[in-house]
């Protein structure tokens, strides 16, 4: 190697080092945030229609307004984009009157036709929104969101033409009755099919539809090239005539439901139903519109910047009609999913709120009665699923014995410390305070009765009981709970149980394939209504995953969905939960408790059983915060 080049190497290295460090730390004029919180894992998306998780939700609640809001303490439905609404006597028609001063952060008015278009996008199968089923109570919404097109139905065909001004807008629509749906073979033979999928779908390349004598097919279909069919991007049920969502005028939105759905109004306040800015999406496309320089927002905050797996920075949205409610101008949501790291940041006063903490720390904080830890029972249940399709768990008496042989209080206290309530009902107790529905409990602990039931099922003293396994996803707490339950079943019922810890993805997969005996699980309310817990166990329900099937139960849940809210409906639910708590495809164990670490200088921090804490309602004593930060300041300079 020539000497001169070798002499340059150290300098080149130093220059590269400087450049790399400089590049990483070049943050133009960022000021410290007024409020910093640990938000958990990196949000999947900022698009409120595409997300399902809590970290995503915390951002979406701040960025996007909904038709209605939930009171931050009581969760009662209160006006938001809709300033008032009327519900028909049969609870099937909703007329929302929108406020006239609602605007996107770019100044564009939020009106009823815009909300219809946004909900249409939510239901469009091409959007692939996981929560689209939240709108299924609406007439025709399910068929639209699953893209079902049948001959004889009114359909809309989206032509494959783009408007250069709005490159991501839907193409022009041809609407009419589908005269025929099917495929055409090379020799011209027509094969009618019952339903066509999206043209963009994988197995739908061959499908054509005939509207008023004209054939439409996906752009790469051979008949399109031959000029015998017109290129179309999608064929869906006709939204305007088949789906019960429409705008009567600029400020009136009308929604028609298939059945009275008492929780529908509540769902209108859930983040997936947030209207999205169609004028921006049509210009930038998805996910392009979620970038910091494109996105426009409707909530009390707007997006300032986002760094992957680092932070989402929110700033007060001056164009929101609620902007005066906001006290924290700049808020940082840190993407940190390690509980230990979150705790270290909280203890060094680098964050004002941590949304969770590791189990070992939780126990410590509870035992020393630390005032920064806010415990609050959630509408959330920790339970075990029992696979009712596998012997011996297919015997109801065995399931009952497993339940009655458990001393829940001892187990739950050992794992989570005091302050974690046990549960004998599947619907958490908090539901009674929230809706008036009193959950039905399963029979309480009774070891002698458990032994008797087990003997009746053919396993006296546990003799002959096949070896079953408790499956859980790898986690210290889940492991400990399974060990305690294993020990109790052994000592009280004389049965041997094995434990299996699994990786999260594999665990979920095993559960949905019913490839387990006993599996740990948890469920949190989507909306404040017993239905969010009880409709899980409909026969073949996506979240049933126990093989449980009871026609009587299915009938009751269906009846409840037809019954307007009130005592009669609660009685139907109670009857259903009685069946569930007698059949026991699940063993309810404990009510989950939200554990938030909130700094002492936070003066207002609204709490509710859904663990939602709207940022605009949080208040901070800035003097106390700065004093505390000063006192705890790091000698090496804080973040």
């Amino acid at each position: 190697m020539p000497t001169r080049f070798r002499e340059l190497v150290p300098f080149l290295l130093a220059a590269a080092l400087l450049a790399a460090v400089g590049r990483a730390f070049w943050l133009p004029g960022e000021r410290p945030a007024d409020f910093v919180f640990v938000n958990g894992t990196e949000p999947k998306s900022l698009d409120p229609q595409l997300i399902t998780g809590q970290p995503e939700g915390r951002i979406a609640w701040a960025l996007f307004d909904r038709l209605v809001r939930w009171d931050p303490e009581t969760l009662e439905v209160i006006p938001a984009l809709a300033e008032r609404w009327e519900v028909s006597d049969d609870q099937r028609w909703y007329v929302f009157s929108l406020r006239k001063d609602a605007r996107w952060s770019d100044g564009v008015r939020i009106d009823a036709p815009g909300i219809v278009a946004a909900w249409q996008r939510f239901l469009d199968p091409a959007t692939a929104a996981e929560y689209a089923y939240q709108l299924w109570p609406v007439r025709g919404a399910k068929a639209y969101s699953t893209g079902l097109v049948r001959a004889g139905a009114m359909i809309e065909v989206e032509l494959d033409q783009r408007d250069p001004e709005r490159p991501f807008a839907r193409g022009p629509l041809v609407r009419g009755e589908a005269a025929w749906v099917g495929s055409i073979a090379g020799d011209g033979a027509r094969q009618a099919s019952d339903a066509a999928e999206l043209f963009g779908g994988s197995d739908a390349d061959a499908v054509l539809v005939d509207v008023d004598g004209v054939l439409y097919a996906s752009p790469d279909h051979p008949l399109v090239a031959a000029g015998d069919a017109i290129a179309a991007r999608a064929a869906l049920p006709d939204f305007a005539t088949t789906v019960g969502i429409s705008a009567a005028d600029e400020h009136t939105l009308i929604v028609e439901l298939t059945e009275p759905t008492p929780y529908f109004l509540h769902i209108c306040g859930f983040y997936p139903l947030s209207p999205v800015p169609m004028h921006v999406i049509e210009k930038h496309g998805s996910p392009g519109w979620t970038k910091a320089d494109s996105i426009v927002c409707s909530g009390p905050y707007r997006l300032h910047s986002r760094r992957l797996r680092d932070r989402v920075r929110l700033v007060r949205n001056e164009t929101s009609y609620r902007t005066d409610e906001v006290s924290l101008e700049v808020v940082d949501a840190l993407a940190i999913d390690s509980g230990a790291t979150a705790l270290a940041l909280f203890e060094t006063a680098a964050v004002d709120w941590a949304t969770s903490l590791p189990p070992f720390a939780a126990k410590l904080f509870i035992e020393r009665d630390d005032p920064t830890l806010r415990l609050r029972s959630e509408l959330s249940i920790g339970f075990y699923r029992l696979n009712t399709t596998r012997p011996p768990l297919d015997d109801r008496r065995v399931r009952q014995a497993l339940s009655r042989g458990l001393d829940r209080a001892t187990i739950v206290k050992a794992v989570y410390g005091p302050g974690q309530p046990t549960s004998l009902s599947f619907v958490p107790e908090g539901m009674e305070a929230a809706t008036g529905y009193a959950p039905v409990q399963t029979a309480a602990e009774d070891a002698a009765e458990a032994v008797r039931l087990l003997a009746e099922a053919g396993y006296p003293g546990g003799k002959g009981f096949p070896k079953i396994t408790i499956t859980f996803n790898a986690d210290e707490g889940h492991q400990m709970m399974a060990e305690l339950i294993q020990a109790q079943w052994k000592s009280r019922l004389g049965i041997d149980v094995e434990l299996a810890s699994m990786e999260w993805g594999a665990f979920l997969d095993a559960q949905s394939r019913l490839d387990y005996w006993v599996a740990r699980a948890g469920w949190t309310a989507d909306y404040v209504d017993p239905n969010t817990f009880l409709d899980m166990f409909l026969t073949d329900g996506a979240n049933n995953q126990t093989g449980f099937s009871s026609p009587a139960y299915d009938r009751l849940i269906a009846e409840a969905s037809r019954t307007p809210a009130g005592e009669a409906r609660d009685a139907v639910f109670a009857e259903a939960e009685t069946i569930l708590m007698d059949e026991l495809p699940v063993l309810p164990l404990f009510m989950r408790v939200s554990k938030n670490l909130v700094a002492p200088w936070v003066t207002a921090f609204p709490e509710n059983p859904l663990d939602i804490h709207p940022l605009e309602a949080i208040r901070v004593d800035a003097t106390a915060r700065d004093r505390a930060r000063q006192a705890r300041r790091l000698r090496g300079g804080g973040p």
Binding site: E130, Y131, S145, D203, T341, E347, R635, P639
Partner: protein, 306 residues
């Protein structure tokens, strides 16, 4: 030289294809998928999502369509970070990982190299003893233990440095030290044994006979003999350190690609995981080629054409 490069690049391409293929089928053989969730949507929605992302196609068809997209230079959209393409994720994460890695590597070379030379200068002395003990500790201590210990002492006990985060210089120090420590220990060990061996060689004895001072012998003559093994070690080490450290990035909440990699694997983010596996393979391959070139430049006995 040219023939060498052509041959190695061709091998690298073949390796990339094999790694891609194996990873593709392994990822999909693992149970679960990018849309697995504790909260399952109804089957109709699941099917619509699978169709939308072409996950309902037979594996062979998926493989062909993914590979042809890759050959067009498109790594695709991330499943789990849905607002980003894989290229965007790598571009953003790379900055953090590369900055952290560069600082850590420079620390490792300076501290490790220095300690190795000092230690070899007086074998069996006090400095040598200290260095040998700390390199043993450095090599055998897993990085999560080291990082945990560092947080306990430096952050909680002494309150010297911030606990985590990314964006300021103080936030860089602790993770860079934790990440660099293992490499520093390894380099110190290599340098020490290289220098000690060289000191006993004939040419060093000749230099000594000619009247060269001990420090000149160690710094000028013996160190050169130790450079070879260090360079061989640095090649893959640089590739490894630049692609980020899973543990250090997670503990200190650093938005680098090591963190993305482990998350992509556990959440079955097929596209992101594939993109990162390819990146890692590419870096390792390129580092290997560079090491051979540097070795050849340093040591005339090595002939690249063979």
């Amino acid at each position: 030289m040219i023939a060498f490069l052509v041959r190695r690049v061709a091998w690298l391409m073949a390796t990339l294809l094999v790694v891609y293929t194996v990873t593709f089928f392994l990822m999909r053989a693992v149970p679960g998928g990018p849309f697995s969730s504790e909260r399952q949507p109804p089957p109709e929605i699941r099917e619509a999502i699978a169709r939308r992302y072409k996950l309902d196609l037979p594996l062979s068809q998926q493989y062909v369509s993914e590979l042809s997209r890759l050959l067009r230079g498109d790594l695709g959209m991330s499943f789990r970070l849905a607002d980003y393409s894989v290229a965007e994720v790598i571009a953003e994460g790379w900055q953090a990982s590369a900055s952290l890695g560069t600082v850590a590597m420079v620390l490792a070379v300076v501290v490790g190299g220095g300690a190795g030379v000092l230690s070899a200068a007086r074998p069996g002395g006090l400095v040598d003893g200290l260095v040998r003990v700390s390199t043993m500790v450095g090599i055998s201590l897993p990085s999560f233990a080291l990082a945990g210990l560092a947080v306990l002492l430096v952050v909680y006990e002494w309150r010297l440095l911030p606990a985590a985060g990314w964006g300021t210089l103080p936030q860089l120090i602790l993770p860079a030290c934790c990440l660099g420590a293992v490499y520093a220990a390894e380099i110190a060990r290599l340098v020490r044994s290289g220098v000690v061996e060289a000191i006993q060689s004939d040419w060093v004895r000749t230099a000594r006979a000619k009247g060269a001072s001990h420090s000149r012998i160690v710094l000028h003559h013996a160190v050169r003999g130790a450079i070879g093994p260090v360079v061989s070690f640095l090649g893959p080490a640089i590739a490894g350190i630049l692609t980020g450290s899973v543990v250090v990035e997670k503990v200190f909440a650093i938005p680098g690609i090591g963190y993305h990699f482990i998350e992509a694997a556990t959440t079955r983010d097929y596209t992101l995981a594939m993109g990162l596996v390819l990146l890692y393979t590419l870096l390792l391959g390129v580092a290997g080629i560079l090491v051979d070139l540097v070795q050849a430049a340093l040591d005339p006995r090595i002939d690249l054409e063979k």
